[in-house]
């Protein structure tokens, strides 16, 4: 099926009805499931966290050698997942890529809720999270400021800028849709839409401003695609730890982030398509064809960087680098994990080379799940594992996450799902005005 077929199969009038049906038609099962997920995420996420704040960081599996564990892994993972949204909304907007339109809103939403998880995991990993505001450069009478040499301070700015601009971008795209929603939906939501659509009525001038602002923000966000995860990678790369201190980290992390982000988009949209078959009309085989191709290319680049990461260690041939490599990829517990990571991130996406596999169940569900697990593992293999083998062998120690860390990690994933499920009942997951633009406004035929 080509792109042209998609366009012609939907008529202009149907779009509103189709997309609004996702918001308006909610079964009892949906409420029950969302409530269950909400309860589970709160109990798995916040209760252990409260316990940890009350007792101390000692409830984790960290020790005097491995200070960064699963929390930091989750932090980097969620920053990574947040990446694809920006890429799709900004870079593909500027290049006028046609397959962007139907999936951009979904991608931006994934970005938003990943960015909810990011600061949470930063606060969770801190020893005294009640003092988190000390990391912000606020005017203080004690004349104490933040250290601008610290990569963590870079993080505060990079992620702060990214979160702010992502929210603005998402909201900007929502405004024309809110007009449609407020006309068609009654109840408490109508009031909400009326309030936050800030007087949108679709005049020419408003459209003009909207298009120009979108263009401006796309250009504004574009550097952030590269900068945010580069800065996150500098948390590690600016140290002297053998497994961290690599110049390849910034592009390596960015590529990995996009890979995991695209996998998340693939998986979530595929699940939504199964739940709401109406979405199959908008997100078609054509879209899968494009996204999976992109994933495959990213995976190839990622493989190259992984090779570089190992090759630099081998080439440098320092004793600490070799010890770290031995631990990471040559000894049993992590050898298997490493092999699994390579299998899921480098080999599984290669199956997309077959055109038939791209929109198949295998391509839509199995491969993205493998990539997501593989990318999480990649961060795990980098962060705690590098710290397990630093310089002095006397104090080498392994790390195993405790139940608190595992529970909070699971709670993070569930919390993300819950927020997403609530969101799609309030805001359209497919951009109505973008799709309409794709179809084209029906004109009176001239005789």
């Amino acid at each position: 099926m080509t792109h042209q077929d998609t366009k012609s199969s939907i008529s202009y009038e149907e779009v509103n009805e189709d997309i609004l049906s996702i918001i308006t038609r909610t079964g009892t099962g949906y409420y029950v499931l969302t409530a269950c997920l909400a309860v589970m995420s709160v109990s798995l996420f916040f209760l252990p966290w409260i316990y940890q704040i009350y007792t101390g960081q000692g409830v984790t599996g960290l020790n005097s050698q491995v200070f960064w564990g699963v929390y930091l892994v989750n932090f980097v993972f969620w920053v990574g997942v947040a990446h694809a949204g920006t890429l799709i909304s900004a870079m593909l907007y500027i290049t006028h890529t046609p397959w962007r339109r139907a999936i951009s809103r979904g991608a931006e939403t994934i970005t938003l809720f990943s960015l909810v998880m990011v600061p949470l995991f930063v606060f969770i990993h801190m020893g005294r999270p009640w003092n988190f505001y000390w990391t912000f450069p606020y005017p203080s009478q004690r004349e104490l400021w933040t250290s601008f040499t610290s990569p963590l301070t870079f993080d505060v700015f990079a992620i702060g800028a990214y979160t702010t601009s992502s929210i603005i971008f998402l909201y900007l795209g929502l405004i024309p849709d809110l007009g449609v929603l407020s006309r068609n939906i009654t109840g408490w939501r109508k009031k909400l839409y009326n309030t936050i659509s800030i007087g949108w009525c679709g005049t020419d001038e408003q459209w003009h401003i909207h298009t120009r602002t979108s263009m401006f923000f796309s250009a504004f966000i574009m550097p952030l695609v590269v900068s945010v995860h580069s800065v996150v990678s500098w948390d590690f790369a600016l140290s002297v730890v053998p497994g961290f201190s690599k110049t390849v980290f910034a592009p390596y992390f960015v590529t990995g982030a996009l890979l995991s982000g695209f996998a998340a988009i693939l998986l979530i949209l595929s699940i939504m398509r199964e739940v709401y078959p109406i979405m199959k009309r908008y997100i078609t085989d054509y879209h899968y064809d494009r996204i999976t191709l992109f994933v495959m290319i990213l995976s190839l680049v990622w493989s190259y960087f992984t090779f570089l990461d190992i090759a630099t260690d081998l080439y440098a041939n320092t004793s600490e680098g070799i010890e770290h490599l031995k631990f990471k990829i040559a000894a049993p517990p992590y050898l298997q994990l490493f092999a699994f990571m390579i299998f899921s991130n480098a080999i599984m996406p290669l199956t997309y080379i077959f055109k038939k596999l791209r929109p198949s169940v295998f391509g839509r569900f199995v491969v993205p799940i493998f990539i997501i697990i593989g990318m999480w593992l990649e961060r795990y293999l980098i962060i705690p594992n590098s710290l397990s083998r630093k310089f002095l062998p006397y104090i080498w120690r392994d790390y195993m996450p405790s139940w608190v860390e595992i529970s909070i990690t699971a709670g993070g994933f569930l919390g993300f799902t819950t927020l997403f499920m609530i969101y799609i009942k309030i805001f359209p997951i497919i951009s109505i005005f973008d799709v309409k633009k794709d179809i084209g406004v029906p004109m009176k035929k001239r005789s």
Partner: protein
């Protein structure tokens, strides 16, 4: 403009490289003679008593969370009967270009005017960055509030770290840290402070040998020496051979990092260029392994 940039760069260069701290009165350093070290562990105990570091209990020790600011690393080489055991006491190396200071986002760890790498407990938010960046793994974290936590965890009775009457032996010169705070060796900064105050009152410089950290004081074989590297006549300067400042940094700014005239002097992990201020004197073995390699 160009002049300004040049001046800035020149200044920056001064700030960046060791030798900058020489403009201050003191430049504290420690020399550990491994030939004399017997690995008895007295320094570890003395440090614990001086600095109010808590005892963490059996479970926590097993998890590798022992809160000692100095540790004796023990390396066993060879196979029986040719077994060699080597000891090396490792404490915070007070690096001149410390990686931990770069990492801290809130200046909880910074370089003070004596060239020491100090830790401000009250400012620490516990991001673990300093400990992660530390190549020597000498930073220790308060995983719990140990003076309130039951260390036995229900295995017969209850015991906290500073249970009465043990709280009577706490050092009043420094605090007991709460959970979520990083801590490390300070070269017993409370003693340095006291000696400097006394010297100031008497309007003189601190004399060599006037200050000794707890580990130096307690070492039965006098393997450890503490002193001021700025003073060419101090014991540490003599032991390391660092009597001439030009060995460290030439006046014209070209850097020479060959530090010692004493062939036994070395610093730990010198190749990562963090410029530690703990100097080790190599242990001389009665075999070929200690022969000076040319």
């Amino acid at each position: 403009m160009a002049g300004f940039i040049d001046r800035f760069l020149a200044r920056y260069d001064i700030y960046r490289y060791p030798g900058y701290y020489k403009k201050f009165d003191y430049w504290w350093a420690m020399v550990i003679d491994l030939d004399r070290c017997t690995g008895c562990g007295a320094c570890v105990t003395a440090c614990q008593a001086e600095n109010n570091t808590p005892v963490v209990g059996e479970d926590e020790s097993g998890k590798g969370r022992v809160l000692n600011w100095i540790r004796i690393e023990r390396y066993i080489e060879g196979e029986y009967p040719n077994v060699k055991v080597k000891f090396i006491p490792i404490l915070c190396q007070q690096c001149d270009k410390a990686p931990c200071e770069v990492g801290c986002p809130v200046y909880a760890t910074y370089h003070n005017q004596d060239g020491l790498n100090v830790q401000v407990y009250n400012r620490c938010v516990g991001t673990f960055t300093c400990a992660t960046y530390c190549p020597y793994d000498v930073r220790r974290f308060n995983w719990f509030t140990y003076n309130k936590r039951d260390l036995l965890q229900g295995k017969g009775g209850r015991s906290t770290s500073f249970e009465p009457p043990l709280d009577q032996q706490l050092n009043p010169d420094l605090s007991v840290r709460e959970m979520g705070v990083m801590e490390k060796c300070t070269f017993c900064i409370q003693r340095i402070r006291a000696a400097k105050d006394k010297a100031k009152d008497e309007k003189r410089e601190v004399k060599d040998g006037e200050i000794y950290p707890a580990c130096v004081q307690t070492c039965p074989t006098k393997a450890m020496t503490f002193g001021d590297l700025n003073d060419p006549n101090s014991m540490v300067s003599k032991l390391t051979g660092l009597t001439e400042k030009t060995d460290y940094l030439r006046e014209d700014g070209s850097k020479i990092f060959k530090i010692a005239k004493n062939p036994r002097t070395y610093r730990l992990l010198e190749d990562i260029n963090v410029f530690p201020k703990v100097f080790y004197l190599k242990r001389v073995m009665n075999d070929d392994s200690s022969r000076h390699k040319k």
